[in-house]
């Protein structure tokens, strides 16, 4: 009996210390990368005070394509197909991936290579990324920062009638943390009124309307409620989320929250989001491959 207990303890301890290549078990207890405050500080230092990027849309109505939870692990077929779709549409100023880019240790190079321009792609829009919790495993922030870029930033799309504001949040640790919360409040207070639409990208979703992913979590309720009010007061047009792997479409306090389902290669029905911005509003359509 004692021997068995010792073995179970040893296996548990070994798992806790090293995990496997996909799940960094020690993240149950201690941060697996830099804290969210540190990541935010580093990201803001990379971006400076201004927009991380400025894109141009040919008309007031334009499309953007959004993928989520690609979980790249040895292959990136669906991600490459998504990039092909984005780069076949010249009206889309950019594409976007809402986090959990990779699923295994050391896959960030493969993820980034799938975003590179390839033969046959007519256009060359960039694919921007948010940081997901899986991207943080095994000190993943270092490779994300080096190969992909910041985890907290804002950018804009300029069109003939004005500009639209896009904000990327780092919710990979289940909280925005103090630095990012202050930054977000200041950004919305100072910049929001200069833009037509405001779209926010966050890997972790705010609502828990179904049991599709029992184990994984959202943000604490107090923080979620505060963000819902902040987004409502700032007239945020759309919050695009991932993490849950199943589509969701919720409107709360005048703000639309959507989840784009997973695009991982072994998904039964991989999908992406097709978002259309017009003068009248923002529309979302889910499309399967």
């Amino acid at each position: 009996m004692l021997q068995m207990v010792k073995r179970i303890f040893s296996v548990a301890l070994a798992l806790l210390l090293v995990g496997c290549d996909s799940v960094d078990i020690k993240g149950l207890i201690v941060p697996v990368s830099d804290s969210v405050n540190r990541r935010c500080e580093q990201s803001l230092a990379m971006c400076g005070d201004g927009a991380y990027a400025t894109f141009t849309a040919e008309s007031e109505q334009y499309d953007i394509y959004v993928a989520a939870d690609t979980h790249v692990a040895d292959t990136a077929k669906n991600l490459q197909q998504f990039v092909d779709i984005v780069r076949a549409d010249g009206t889309a100023p950019f594409g976007y991936m809402v986090g959990d880019c990779i699923d295994k240790r050391g896959q960030m190079e493969l993820y980034v290579s799938a975003l590179q321009q390839r033969d046959g792609q007519q256009y060359s829009q960039p694919i921007l990324s948010a940081l997901g919790n899986h991207d943080l495993f095994f000190d993943g922030w270092d490779s994300f920062r080096e190969l992909v870029g910041p985890s907290v930033y804002w950018f804009e799309a300029v069109h003939p009638s004005g500009r639209d504001l896009f904000i990327t949040l780092d919710s990979a640790s289940g909280t925005l943390g103090r630095v990012q919360t202050a930054w977000l409040k200041r950004l919305l207070r100072e910049q929001r009124d200069s833009y037509c639409h405001c779209v926010i990208f966050s890997h972790v979703n705010l609502f828990y309307t179904d049991n599709s992913q029992t184990g994984s979590g959202n943000m604490p309720l107090e923080e979620s409620a505060a963000l819902m009010q902040l987004f409502s007061q700032a007239r945020v047009s759309l919050v695009v989320q991932g993490h849950d792997h199943y589509r969701e479409d919720v409107e709360f306090m005048g703000v639309r929250y959507v989840i784009i389902g997973t695009m991982r290669d072994d998904a039964l029905s991989p999908e992406y989001g097709h978002i259309t911005l017009t003068e009248q509003g923002v529309d979302v359509e889910w499309r399967e491959f």
């Binding site: 990979a172 909280t175 103090r178 979590g217 604490p220 709360f252 306090m253």
Partner: protein
């Protein structure tokens, strides 16, 4: 919905405090908390909690609390106990309401538990409804749980408890958002005592990317009869 919850909570509170004349045991605790939160910074909480036991079979806990982040919480938990030689089994109802700014949360749950001198455990299911400004969202798939250890169960005047929970009274969270508490109690007289405690709440624990979220300390004044 809000009015219904309010009425139920009021009735339970009246039941709790009007039962003094036939009480076997009751306790009222005034708690003051202070702490640091990753999203809100410094905060303070005042809570009034009460519990009342009747004939070893019934117990009701209720409380009301205000957090300086603008959060008001009310909760009541009536429970029935079935006593065994080595402890007791418990079935409880949980009614919880929170208002934070314009956002309202109401939760209705049922749970079962086990208690013995050294440990107690609770697990239950609850439905949450969120509403604000004419919009509402249902969160129908939630689990609440609590695992506690009584470190000094043999001592009459002292107690030290270690608790892992997502559902302490007035602190109901989603199931992936547990907190860890350590509470100490000392009764100076038969009726009057004090408590001190600390609590730690991480974020992202079930995402396996845990990060600091909240640390708090609390002191309390207790009266029991």
């Amino acid at each position: 919905m809000m009015r219904l919850v309010g009425r139920i909570v009021t009735m339970l509170l009246l039941l709790l405090f009007s039962g003094v004349c036939v009480a076997q045991q009751g306790e009222v605790v005034l708690r003051l908390q202070g702490g640091d939160n990753a999203a809100f910074g410094g905060f303070g909480v005042a809570q009034l909690q009460g519990s009342y036991s009747l004939e070893r079979h019934f117990k009701a806990c209720a409380g009301v609390g205000y957090n300086t982040i603008g959060r008001t919480a009310v909760e009541a938990r009536p429970a029935y106990f079935h006593n065994l030689n080595f402890g007791s089994l418990r079935a409880e109802l949980m009614l919880h309401y929170v208002r934070q700014g314009a956002v309202n949360n109401g939760a209705l749950g049922v749970g079962v538990g086990f208690e013995c001198p050294y440990v107690w455990a609770t697990i239950g299911y609850y439905h949450r409804q969120m509403w604000a400004e004419g919009s509402q969202v249902a969160e129908p798939f939630n689990i609440y749980y609590e695992l506690g250890i009584n470190c000094l169960p043999k001592l009459e005047r002292w107690d030290l408890r270690v608790v892992f929970s997502n559902s302490r009274l007035l602190e109901l969270e989603r199931h992936y958002q547990p907190s860890l508490y350590v509470d100490g109690w000392w009764y100076a007289t038969t009726h009057i005592g004090v408590m001190v405690g600390i609590g730690y709440k991480p974020a992202g624990m079930f995402n396996i990317t845990t990060d600091y979220y909240q640390l708090n300390g609390q002191v309390g004044l207790c009266y029991r009869w």
